[in-house]
């Protein structure tokens, strides 16, 4: 009896083995003469776009592998490349491109990618060339920053949409005064990409390259200005200091504790997923400016499709990447299925973007104004160790918040750690 029970349990386990193993092997076998490509991505529902490609291109078959997003995929790519088995293509955030290029993970695809160059705005294309003659990826989406706010709460509290950062600070104080339980927004020590976007808007230039020598200035005047500004707001309690993308943050967005969010073009999707209770209550406006009348913004997020140096079918891989990010049939799928704001210029005028996102149904001109704002995004040169700068950001700003020390000190820590890491890895850094 007892032995029988064990046998049943073990047989069940073994049976799972026999049913799932062969089915998988069958999928991997390529029919003769066909090019097989593997593609890592984290974009939701991107399998629909890949399926569309496979249906229309019987000679080049792409196998998608969904991965965890953002920084995780970079770590995995580095390990896989070291072990000699990276995928042919991978989705990579712009700021991670230099890290992968300096580790020889990505291939230079300048020749193969030349035909699609003029489908993208120069500022976007510059992000994938890293300011050289090489091309390391095809841009997929961009993330120009804008200000999102709760129209109902703003009306209730008698607030107007801040046009400058001075007004933003005054609005933050007014919120605390009129509704002590609410905050205008929060400063997150967990989201370095967000802070970098804010610094870009102020004109920060963290990395620059002159020949073989890097210039690193994470603590330049513009960045210090942004850090001091937010540090002041946090210190006087005018804004919240909880991190974003936590369940507590979701709750605060849902119940109206946080009523504004400086974010990027993809925010409607995040708000719809994380704060569904607030549907139709948000509106989008340009970012507050440092000088009245100015018109600038930064970028947060945005990614590209890179081809790995180890790929045996680079030409086919570039063909797929170019199709996915520039062909209207593909970009329309990216817009409708994956909620991606495409980087390709023509795609931004897609009829799919004539209507505002469902979550912002009241703001008819959402995409036209977003397109106008996107034109004002500052360019930015990413360095080879953005991951180090970002990790130090989380550390240093977290400490500054809990220790109540000035934020400018945290920026100095970022600079020191970034320079030290680059020197350790053999980069020439001008002092």
């Amino acid at each position: 009896m007892k032995a029988k029970l064990l046998a049943v349990v073990l047989a069940a386990a073994l049976c799972a083995a026999c049913t799932s193993d062969p089915g998988d092997d069958g999928q991997g076998a390529p029919p003769g003469g066909k090019v097989e490509l593997s593609f890592w991505s984290w974009a939701p529902n991107i399998d629909k776009t890949v399926d569309a490609w496979n249906a229309g291109h019987p000679d080049i078959h792409v196998t998608l592998s969904k991965q965890a997003g953002g920084g995780d995929i970079v770590t995995k790519l580095l390990t896989a490349a070291k072990a000699g088995n990276p995928p042919d293509l991978a989705q990579v955030e712009y700021q991670s491109l230099p890290t992968l290029v300096s580790n020889d993970v990505l291939a230079d695809i300048a020749r193969e990618a030349a035909p699609v160059k003029d489908k993208f705005a120069d500022g976007v294309w510059q992000q994938v060339t890293l300011g050289t003659d090489a091309v390391y990826a095809i841009p997929q989406d961009s993330g120009p920053m804008m200000l999102y706010y709760r129209t109902d709460e703003f009306a209730r509290l008698g607030l107007s949409v801040p046009k400058t950062w001075d007004e933003f600070a005054r609005t933050a104080r007014a919120v605390r005064q009129k509704a002590p339980k609410k905050y205008l927004t929060t400063f997150s020590a967990n989201d370095p990409g967000w802070f970098t976007g804010l610094a870009q808007q102020a004109g920060a230039a963290w990395w620059g390259i002159d020949g073989e020598t890097w210039k690193v200035s994470v603590n330049d005047a513009a960045t210090r200005k942004v850090a001091d500004y937010w540090g002041g707001l946090v210190a006087e309690g005018a804004v919240d200091k909880q991190p974003m993308y936590t369940p507590a943050w979701n709750k605060a967005l849902n119940d109206g504790t946080l009523i504004a969010w400086p974010s990027a073009i993809w925010a409607p999707g995040v708000l719809a997923g994380n704060a569904p209770a607030t549907k139709g209550k948000w509106a989008m406006a340009p970012m507050p400016q440092w000088t009245a009348g100015e018109n600038r913004t930064g970028s947060w997020g945005g990614s590209s499709t890179g081809v790995t140096a180890a790929s045996k079918n680079k030409a086919a891989a570039v063909k797929f990447a170019a199709w996915m990010n520039a062909d209207p049939a593909a970009t329309d799928l990216l817009i409708s299925q994956s909620a991606i704001y495409p980087a390709a210029r023509a795609a931004q005028s897609s009829p799919l973007l004539a209507q505002p996102p469902a979550f912002f149904a009241g703001q008819k001109d959402f995409y036209p104004s977003a397109k106008a704002i996107a034109e004002t995004a500052s360019g930015f040169v990413w360095g080879p160790n953005v991951n180090v700068a970002y990790d130090t950001y989380k550390d240093a700003f977290g400490k500054a918040i809990t220790g109540r020390t000035p934020f400018a000190g945290a920026v100095d820590t970022m600079q020191a750690a970034t320079v030290a890491d680059m020197q350790k890895n053999g980069f020439k850094v001008a002092s």
Partner: protein, 299 residues
């Protein structure tokens, strides 16, 4: 609960004739209370998962924590529909990794533990000490070296990449050795040898049945460890068709800043992923306890 404690001594004073009989009963309150607190501490997160799995995206963060919602069918539907039902494929993968891995690990542990306990050979204590040291090395630190080693032989991103490192479990071998030393009497082995049985036959027919309860423990330990393992499959696998449920759910939760995390889908996925573990414990626990008793009779 604190209100209960003083009421007991009051009773004692009223009835001085039976202080001895009352004393152990009063003492029995403390363990009960402590265990109750422990049980609540352990079960509260499970209760949270249960309640949260019935809530949709908007009520998840706004309604009272333990108040159930009515969205369980919708959440289940979302989970099954996600990327063509890949969640169920992940569950099957996890069952494969944990079932086959646990079984092979129990067999290897049984064989090695028996050998270490019952044979005298050169290097025996060195091997055992190395194994003991292995118990102290957390598996997390080995994941990257194992990845690079398996990449050398081209086995990464295969089912073997997750199965092979899990087969050898120092802790399992250690347990099996202790159990073999206690449960398999030398006299039985000598009797079998006198009868002319080969060493392989003695292990298979005599020692293995005696060690079975111990091996079930090893299997259970290893099964749960593999079921919950995250880092090894995360490092080894890149094809989402081969992901176990832990890594799969992680990719749903961590999709970068531009995409909302699929909390309600992940929570219901977590709930389903712990059900087989509970079922396994309930069935094997009974089996395991019975055989500990019968084992002692045999010994």
């Amino acid at each position: 609960m604190t209100a209960l404690a003083p009421s007991v001594p009051v009773h004692d004073d009223a009835d001085p004739r039976a202080p001895r009989r009352r004393a152990p009963r009063r003492a029995a309150w403390l363990p009960t209370v402590v265990l109750l607190i422990g049980a609540i501490y352990c079960l509260l997160p499970v209760a949270w998962v249960l309640a949260a799995s019935t809530k949709g995206g908007s009520s998840l963060f706004t309604s009272f924590t333990f108040a159930p919602g009515g969205d369980l069918p919708a959440n289940l539907g979302d989970l099954s529909a996600y990327s063509g039902g890949i969640y169920w494929k992940w569950m099957l993968n996890t069952l494969l990794y944990a079932g086959v891995g646990g079984l092979l690990s129990a067999l290897v542990s049984g064989l090695s533990g028996y050998t270490l306990a019952k044979y005298r050979f050169a290097g025996r204590s060195v091997i055992f000490n190395v194994l003991l040291a292995g118990v102290l090395v957390p598996g997390v630190t080995l994941a990257i070296p194992q990845y690079l080693l398996l990449a050398e032989v081209g086995l990464t991103d295969t089912y073997w990449a997750v199965l092979l490192p899990n087969i050898l479990s120092p802790y399992g071998i250690y347990l099996a050795r202790i159990y073999a030393a206690a449960a398999v009497p030398d006299t039985v082995l000598e009797a079998a040898r006198t009868d002319g049985a080969s060493e392989g036959r003695i292990f298979g027919r005599v020692a293995l049945p005696m060690m079975l309860p111990g091996l079930v423990t090893v299997f259970l330990f290893q099964f749960v460890a593999i079921w919950n393992n995250f880092l090894l499959p995360f490092v080894m696998l890149s094809d989402d068709d081969k992901f176990p449920v832990t890594v799969g759910l992680f990719t749903l939760l961590n999709q970068g800043q531009t995409v909302p995390a699929l909390y309600s889908v992940v929570i219901v996925g977590v709930l389903i992923s712990i059900l087989p573990l509970i079922a396994l414990f309930l069935t094997l626990q009974r089996y395991w306890r019975l055989d500990l008793v019968s084992g002692s009779v045999k010994g």
